[in-house]
C-alpha cells in the first residue's frame, strides 16, 4: 500500500476534532468532575458557540437558488468570533443556571438536556438566522493560504492554534482550580451542605463554574467551525455528542484536567481509527463498522470502570505544604 499524502490531512482532522472534544470535556470536567454539576446539555452550549462564531465571522451568504440565507455577513475577525462564542455560550449557561442550580442534581440534568434539545430544534427551524438544516457554509479559515500546499498549511494552522489554545487553557485553568476558589468547588461536590455550613455561598460558586464551563463549550463550538468550515444543526449537536463527552471525562479521569484531553483523544481515536480501518475490514463487516465502534466504546468503558474506576489519569491528592 503506497503512502497516501492525504493521510496527513486526515490525521490533522483527527487531532483538530479531538481538540474540539477536549475543550468540551474540560468544560464538563470543571462542572461535574470538580463541582458535581451534571450538565446533560453540553451539545446545546457547543451549538450556541458554533453558530455565534459562524454568524459573526462569515461573509453575507451567497444568493444561491434554494439557499435560505442566514443571519450574518458581519465578517468579524476569527478571534473576535472566538470571544463572542465564549461570551454568548457562557451567558447562556449562566441564564439556564439561575433557575436550575438550586434544583437537585437529577433535575439539573433533565433541565439542561431539555435546554440543549430546544436550542437544537430552534437551530433546525429558525431558517432566517441559521439557514436551517442546509446549514452555514463559507465560514472563513483561521488563515487563508494559496498554492499547492494549501490543504497542508490550513490543517497545520488549525492543529497548531488548537494545540496552543489547549496548552494555554491547561496552564490557566490549573492555576484557577488549584486555588482556594477551586477548593470550594470540590467542597460543593463532596458535600454542598457542609460547605455552606462553613460559610461558603455554594450557589455563587456553582453559577461561576457553570458559566466558565459553558464558555469553554462555546470556544469548542468556535474551534469546530475552524476545523470544519461548515455548520449543520441536526447531527453535530445531537444528545449523542453530550454522551460522548461524558464518556471522555470518565475515561480520562474526572477532576483531572489533563485527563479530559487524554479521554478526548482516546475515545475519539477509537471512532476515527475505526473509520480508517474500514478498508482493511472484510467486505461483509463494512456496513457494521459504526456499530462495532459503539460496542468498542462500551467495552472500553466497562473495562475501565472495573479496573480503573477513577479514569486513566485520576484526580491527584492535594498535599499542602
Amino acid at each position: 500500500m503506497a503512502f497516501d499524502p492525504l493521510f496527513l490531512i486526515n490525521v490533522g482532522f483527527y487531532i483538530s476534532f479531538a481538540i474540539v472534544f477536549a475543550l468540551l470535556a474540560i468544560g464538563f470536567n470543571l462542572q461535574w468532575g470538580y463541582t458535581g454539576l451534571f450538565n446533560a446539555g453540553i451539545a446545546g452550549f457547543f451549538l450556541i458557540g458554533a453558530y455565534t462564531a459562524a454568524i459573526a465571522i462569515t461573509a453575507p451568504s451567497p444568493p444561491a437558488t434554494g439557499y435560505p440565507g442566514h443571519l450574518g455577513g458581519y465578517q468579524l475577525p476569527v478571534a473576535v468570533g472566538a470571544v463572542l462564542a465564549m461570551v454568548v455560550a457562557g451567558s447562556a449557561a449562566a441564564l439556564i443556571a439561575l433557575p436550575t442550580l438550586r434544583l437537585r442534581a437529577d433535575y439539573l440534568a433533565i433541565a439542561t438536556l431539555a435546554f440543549a434539545e430546544v436550542v437544537r430544534t430552534i437551530a433546525i427551524n429558525l431558517e432566517p438566522i441559521t439557514a436551517g438544516t442546509i446549514g452555514i457554509v463559507g465560514i472563513p479559515r483561521l488563515l487563508e493560504f494559496s498554492g499547492p500546499n494549501k490543504p497542508y498549511l490550513t490543517t497545520a494552522t488549525i492543529v497548531g492554534v488548537g494545540a496552543a489554545i489547549v496548552l494555554a487553557l491547561l496552564v490557566a485553568l490549573h492555576f484557577i482550580v488549584e486555588s482556594p476558589w477551586g477548593r470550594v468547588l470540590r467542597g460543593v461536590r463532596d458535600d454542598e451542605e457542609a460547605t455552606m455550613a462553613v460559610g461558603k455561598n455554594a450557589f455563587r460558586y456553582k453559577l461561576q463554574v457553570f458559566a466558565i464551563g459553558g464558555a469553554l463549550m462555546g470556544l469548542a463550538g468556535w474551534f469546530s467551525v475552524m476545523a470544519l468550515p461548515y455548520l449543520e444543526p441536526a447531527g453535530s449537536f445531537a444528545p449523542a455528542v453530550t454522551f460522548s463527552i461524558w464518556v471522555m471525562v470518565i475515561v480520562g479521569g474526572a477532576g483531572n484536567l489533563k485527563g479530559s484531553i487524554v479521554g478526548a483523544f482516546v475515545v475519539y481515536g477509537l471512532e476515527w481509527g475505526s473509520v480508517q480501518l474500514k478498508d482493511l475490514a472484510p467486505p461483509e463487516l463494512k456496513d457494521s463498522i459504526p456499530y462495532i465502534r459503539l460496542m468498542l466504546v462500551g467495552v472500553l468503558l466497562i473495562v475501565l470502570i472495573i479496573y480503573r474506576p477513577d479514569g486513566i489519569l485520576r484526580e491527584k491528592k492535594r498535599v499542602l505544604r
Binding site: 492555576f175 484557577i176 486555588s179 482556594p180 476558589w181 477548593r183 470550594v184 470540590r186 467542597g187 461536590r189 463532596d190 458535600d191 451542605e193 457542609a194 460547605t195 455552606m196 455550613a197 462553613v198 460559610g199 461558603k200 455561598n201 455554594a202 461561576q208 477532576g255 484526580e315 491528592k317 492535594r318 498535599v319 499542602l320
Partner: protein, 258 residues
C-alpha cells in the same frame, strides 16, 4: 444586696415552628443560651433536636418565630451568612469532604479567605498566597489541638468514625465561631477520646466560645454541661442545671426513664 447581673444571652430562639408535611418537628419552641456556656440539649428520638439545630444554622427555614444571635436576627438567613455572624454546626453523621485531605477540609473553613474569589486569584496572587499560608498555620494548630495532626494529608474518607467527629469539630473551629452547635459530638467516639474531646471543648469555652450540644451520653450531659435543656415533641419541657433536670418528673417520664 446587689441583684445578680443577668447572664448575657448569645443565642435566643423565640417561638420557632417547623413542620414537615403533617409532622410538627419543632412546635413553638423557645430557649436561650448563655454566652461562654456549654449547654446540653437532650430528649427522645424525634423530639426535634436536630431540626432545631438545622433551623438555627440556617439549613432549614422556620415556618414562624424568631432566632437571634447576639443582636442579629438570623432566622431565614442562608447558612453562609450565619457562619459569618459567628455560628456554625456539626452533624450527627459526619459530613466530611470525602475526596479532600483532612487539611483541605479545614482550609475550606477559613473565614474571608481572599483566594476564594476568582478576581483575587488573578489580580492579587501575592495576597492570596500570604493569606493561604496564614490559614494553613492556623489549620495545623487546630489539627494538633484535635489530635488529628498526623492525619493532615490523609483523605477524609479514610478516617475512622471517631476521627471524622474530631474533623467536624476542627473544621467548625476554622470559621472562628462564637457559637458552635454540636450534634452528638461523642457518639461513636471511644471513651478515652471522648473525654479528651470534652476537655478540649471545655478549654475552648474558657477561651470564650459557646457550645450547644445534642448528646445522649448522660455522662457527658451531667458532668460537662452547665445547663441542660430538654425537648419533647418539638418544644422545651425543662431547662436548668443538670441536677435539677435529672430530678424533673416530666423528664424522667419522657426521656430518662424511671
Amino acid at each position: 444586696m446587689n441583684a445578680p447581673l443577668p447572664e448575657q444571652r448569645i443565642l435566643r430562639v423565640q417561638r420557632v415552628r417547623k413542620s414537615f408535611g403533617g409532622i410538627r418537628a419543632v412546635d413553638d419552641c423557645s430557649l436561650s443560651i448563655a454566652a461562654q456556656s456549654i449547654t446540653g440539649l437532650i430528649g427522645p428520638n424525634g423530639a426535634g433536636k436536630s431540626t432545631l439545630f438545622n433551623l438555627v444554622a440556617g439549613l432549614y427555614r422556620p415556618d414562624g418565630g424568631a432566632i437571634w444571635l447576639s443582636n442579629s436576627r438570623i432566622d431565614g438567613l442562608p447558612p453562609f451568612e450565619i457562619v459569618h455572624l459567628g455560628l456554625t454546626k456539626t452533624w450527627q453523621i459526619p459530613h466530611e469532604l470525602r475526596n479532600m485531605t483532612v487539611l483541605e477540609n479545614l482550609m475550606l473553613g477559613a473565614k474571608n479567605n481572599p483566594g476564594e474569589h476568582l478576581l483575587n486569584i488573578l489580580v492579587r496572587p501575592r495576597v492570596v498566597r500570604r493569606e493561604e499560608r496564614a490559614w494553613r498555620t492556623r489549620a495545623r494548630e487546630i489539627l494538633r489541638l484535635t489530635q488529628l495532626g498526623g492525619l493532615a494529608d490523609e483523605y477524609a474518607k479514610s478516617l475512622s468514625g471517631g476521627q471524622k467527629k474530631l474533623l467536624e469539630l476542627a473544621r467548625a473551629l476554622m470559621t472562628e465561631p462564637a457559637v458552635v452547635l454540636l450534634d452528638e459530638p461523642v457518639a461513636g467516639v471511644n471513651p478515652t477520646l471522648a473525654a479528651s474531646l470534652m476537655d478540649l471543648i471545655e478549654g475552648l469555652r474558657q477561651a470564650g466560645r459557646t457550645f450547644f450540644l445534642i448528646e445522649h451520653d448522660m455522662n457527658v450531659v451531667m458532668n460537662r454541661c452547665d445547663r441542660v435543656i430538654v425537648m419533647h415533641q418539638g418544644r422545651t419541657i425543662a431547662d436548668g442545671t443538670p441536677a435539677s433536670v435529672k430530678a424533673n418528673p416530666a423528664v424522667i417520664d419522657s426521656y430518662l426513664g424511671g
